[in-house]
């Protein structure tokens, strides 16, 4: 167990350093930010002066070494656009994204788990069909469209929920549904197939034969054994929600990290892109690491 943790941490560290190099090179391949920072009539001398003051006139390898030496100390430099420390900007926006991802993740699990289990238990019934339709819609319909429809119905039509913002718990409901609906399909499918496999196994049949209550059989004995692949995909989707919430954040004017980083990409705000993507990468890598660790808790055989 201990060696697994050490190995996992070492892998995570290598991945993070690799991610930093990729982010650094790719952000610079997108072009020069200086022309965007100055007014259109600024002369070339002003452009050159600004480029020098930002260290963008140095060779790229030298820029990377400076970036790396500062980054390990938590200094990603100042945002070119916002004129404040890039990491501070990222940390100010990250909680909103995590909040949205957790809410969306909770929604998706709360919908997918009962749907998947019931679809398996009542295979071929209307519940099974309904589960497939709901799941299919989630994957077929883009999240921005879901968001706009939810706004029109629940904010404009019914007036129950706010159309935008992040001021209270009510504000998170519509964005969470928009973001969380997509993974429902995959999660439902995996639970359904896992459950079908387990429900056909000998020990379940034996349980039924000796009169074990059906509810206990499904939720205690069958569901736990069908959980492992679900946890894997849940980890992937949770990380994807953290890094892929940009569209939903834009639709609902949610003040999260996704919008901040995407706008930074368009304005070539290197420090914010680097800090944002690296922080997201770290969260992504750590969440996968935690998923790996959770396997041994779910399945004792892995501990051995």
């Amino acid at each position: 167990m201990k060696s697994n943790i050490i190995k996992g941490l070492a892998n995570a560290l290598v991945s993070i350093v690799g991610a930093s190099l990729i982010i650094f090179v790719i952000s610079r391949l997108s072009g020069d930010p200086v022309a965007l920072m100055l007014p259109i009539e600024a002369p070339k001398s002003a452009i050159d002066e600004l480029r020098k003051s930002l260290g963008l006139d140095l060779p790229i390898w030298q820029q990377y070494l400076i970036f790396l030496s500062h980054a390990v100390r938590g200094d990603f430099g100042n945002s070119y656009r916002w004129q404040m420390p890039a990491l501070q900007l990222v940390f100010e926006r990250l909680p909103a994204t995590i909040e949205l991802a957790i809410a969306a993740f909770t929604f998706s699990v709360l919908l997918a788990v009962p749907l998947g289990v019931l679809s398996a238990v009542y295979r071929g019934s209307w519940i099974d069909h309904l589960g497939r339709i709901i799941a299919m819609l989630g994957q077929a319909v883009p999240s921005f469209w879901v968001g706009l429809v939810l706004i029109l119905v629940f904010a404009v039509g019914l007036g129950w929920l706010p159309a935008f913002g992040a001021d209270s718990f009510k504000h998170v409901i519509l964005p969470a549904i928009s973001l969380g609906w997509y993974p429902v399909a995959a999660q439902t499918r995996i639970i359904r197939s896992g459950m079908l496999e387990v429900l056909d196994s000998d020990y379940i049949r034996m349980g039924r034969a000796v009169g074990t209550p059906e509810r206990l059989l499904i939720w205690k004995y069958a569901f736990r054994n069908a959980l492992l692949p679900l946890v894997t995909i849940m980890g992937v989707y949770f990380a994807a929600m953290l890094s892929g919430a940009f569209v939903v954040e834009t639709v609902f004017a949610w003040p999260g990290l996704g919008r901040t980083v995407v706008e930074a990409v368009f304005s070539r705000d290197y420090p914010v892109v680097q800090a944002g993507v690296l922080v997201t990468s770290i969260v992504f890598i750590l969440s996968n690491f935690l998923v790996d660790l959770s396997y041994s808790l779910i399945d004792p055989r892995i501990r051995r």
Binding site: L36, M37, P39, E41, P255
Partner: protein
């Protein structure tokens, strides 16, 4: 499992039991929604027009434009041009009794401080506008003089450039402190800011202009970039006022009961440019440029693609300095365009790269570009279309780069002449030829000696009447020779607000200034 459904329904009902989601405003709070967000609240650091939407709520300049787009003295009680023709002096007397939000009195030292910051390349993006000011002389607390080394009209057309920035307070709190808690002289005091979310202001009780004081205590500016969400928030009553109603929603919003709207020119100027300076380019030939000018039915594009939300202009927009109603756009005449192409040596037309901006800097701008290319294709100028996001677009447009080759085809471009509008700066950038290191023609594809001479002369003319005459002359010359691109339209912007809001649109900050605003009970 049966018990779960009623439990879920009960939980949902409890969750939603707060009743309809009401506007976040109350009688003492005006909530407005903007589509874009500024990046700084420091006037010396601003770089884009959107910064001014927010800066102008709490900072002020010496001169401003009134509702009829006429310049009026604001923090300046009076000003005049003195000195000699070669070495002019702008002499400014400040309005007495103006206070900053922290209670400090406004003095000439605050403007000198602003000037020094505008000159500093580490702070300002406008250092090039200060190069001809050789001395800032403080005569007394309410009187200063700007000594110029050469005539320079940039100060005249830019509301005398300077902002009131509290020197004493700034030196106490430093750059970072000022960016977190900015202090100005305007009608709104800064309260807080959450990037990507909102900016909160409070009415300044000691505001010097009693006629222009807000009649509501709080102003909350929400940032809602998605057009449909902004409209939905307005319809749902979550906000009282919205910026930039999307084109497709304008008619619907105008028909909503209890809603008022205001439509105005946004201050941007769009045109189609081409490399007429390149000897081997077809656009080097005047007849080809004239063909472009006659090939595109801009009236139809404005009507169909822009939902009528655009105003045609020829060189100078209506109401701008030097506007000449006699100067009309070339008529739409595809037959004449084909004939001109044939006369220029292109009876079968020609292929050319056509670069379109895909980032929505103006509503439906991508579709406008595509429509223009289709019209060009109809007369034989066949476009190989390439869409560019903003950063790539601006990079392609700039001259004198150390990178990929210069723009070599048709380029959809824009350069705001502002409100009420003065073409001197845009012409210096795209009508004057490119001169490396001198600041001329930074986005220019034109090379015409006479145009250069006239544009350079205009920069030095500080007398308003003389400027009008010269601008008219240049506009006519550019029109006749189709230089500096083919001018197309000026975007129109619409704002909407609830009837309970007393909103008087002011031209500063492109009409987004909340002076004299109130809420009816």
């Amino acid at each position: 499992m049966r018990g779960a459904t009623p439990l879920f329904v009960a939980a949902l009902a409890l969750l939603l039991s707060g009743g309809p989601s009401q506007a976040q405003s109350s009688n003492d709070t005006l909530t407005v929604a903007f589509g874009a967000e500024g990046t700084t609240m420091d006037p010396a650091r601003y770089s884009a027009g959107v910064d001014q939407y927010f800066i102008s709520q709490m900072f002020e300049q010496l001169v401003r434009f009134d509702k009829d787009l006429k310049p009026v003295n604001w923090l300046a009680e009076s000003w005049s041009i003195q000195g000699t023709a070669d070495k002019p002096i702008i002499d400014v007397h400040l309005r007495p009794g103006v206070k900053f939000h922290n209670g400090d009195p406004m003095t000439a030292a605050d403007f000198e401080f602003c000037f020094q910051r505008l000159k500093d390349a580490k702070v300002s993006r406008w250092t090039h506008l200060q190069v001809n000011v050789e001395q800032f002389e403080i005569v007394d607390d309410l009187h200063f003089r700007l000594h110029f080394s050469a005539p320079d009209a940039d100060y005249i057309v830019g509301n005398l450039q300077l902002w009131a920035i509290p020197k004493k307070y700034f030196e106490q709190v430093g750059d970072e402190g000022f960016s977190k808690a900015p202090v100005g002289t305007g009608p709104w005091k800064f309260v807080s800011r959450s990037i990507k979310e909102d900016i909160k202001f409070e009415a300044f009780d000691d505001y010097w202009n009693k006629d222009a004081r807000p009649k509501v205590k709080h102003l909350v500016a929400k940032i809602i970039p998605e057009d449909l969400t902004r409209v939905a928030a307005f319809k749902a009553g979550n906000v009282d006022w919205i910026d930039a109603v999307p084109l497709s929603a304008i008619e619907e919003i105008k028909k909503m009961p209890g809603v008022k709207t205001f439509t105005a020119i946004s201050g941007n100027n769009l045109y189609v440019d081409f490399p007429s300076y390149q000897p081997n380019s077809p656009f080097n030939k005047e007849k080809v440029r004239q063909a472009v000018a006659q090939a595109v039915d801009m009236d139809a594009i404005i009507k169909s693609v822009l939902f009528g939300q655009g105003e045609r202009y020829e060189q100078i927009g209506k109401g701008s300095t030097g506007y000449d109603p006699a100067l009309k756009p070339y008529p739409f005449d595809p037959k004449a365009a084909k004939k001109l192409l044939a006369e220029a040596g292109y009876p079968n037309g020609f292929e050319t790269p056509c670069y379109n901006l895909t980032t929505p800097r103006e509503p439906n701008i991508k579709e406008y570009g595509e429509a223009v290319f289709a019209y060009l294709g109809a007369v034989g100028i066949r476009c190989k279309v390439q869409g560019l996001e903003y950063a790539a677009w601006i990079n392609l447009g700039r001259r004198g780069r150390n990178g990929p080759p210069d723009m070599d085809g048709v380029l959809m471009w824009m350069w705001g002449q502002g409100l009420p509008g003065d073409p001197a700066t845009p012409w210096g950038g795209h009508l004057h030829s490119f001169v490396a290191g001198k600041g001329w023609g930074s986005y220019s594809y034109t090379d015409d000696k006479k145009a250069d001479e006239m544009v350079e002369k205009l920069k030095g003319v500080m007398d308003p009447e003389q400027r009008v005459g010269l601008i008219k002359e240049i506009a006519q010359y550019a029109h006749d020779n189709v230089l500096g691109g083919v001018t197309t339209y000026r975007p129109v912007i619409t704002f909407a607000w609830r009837e309970k809001v007393e909103f008087k649109p002011w031209p500063s900050a492109n009409w987004r200034n909340f002076k004299e605003v109130g809420l009816k009970n």
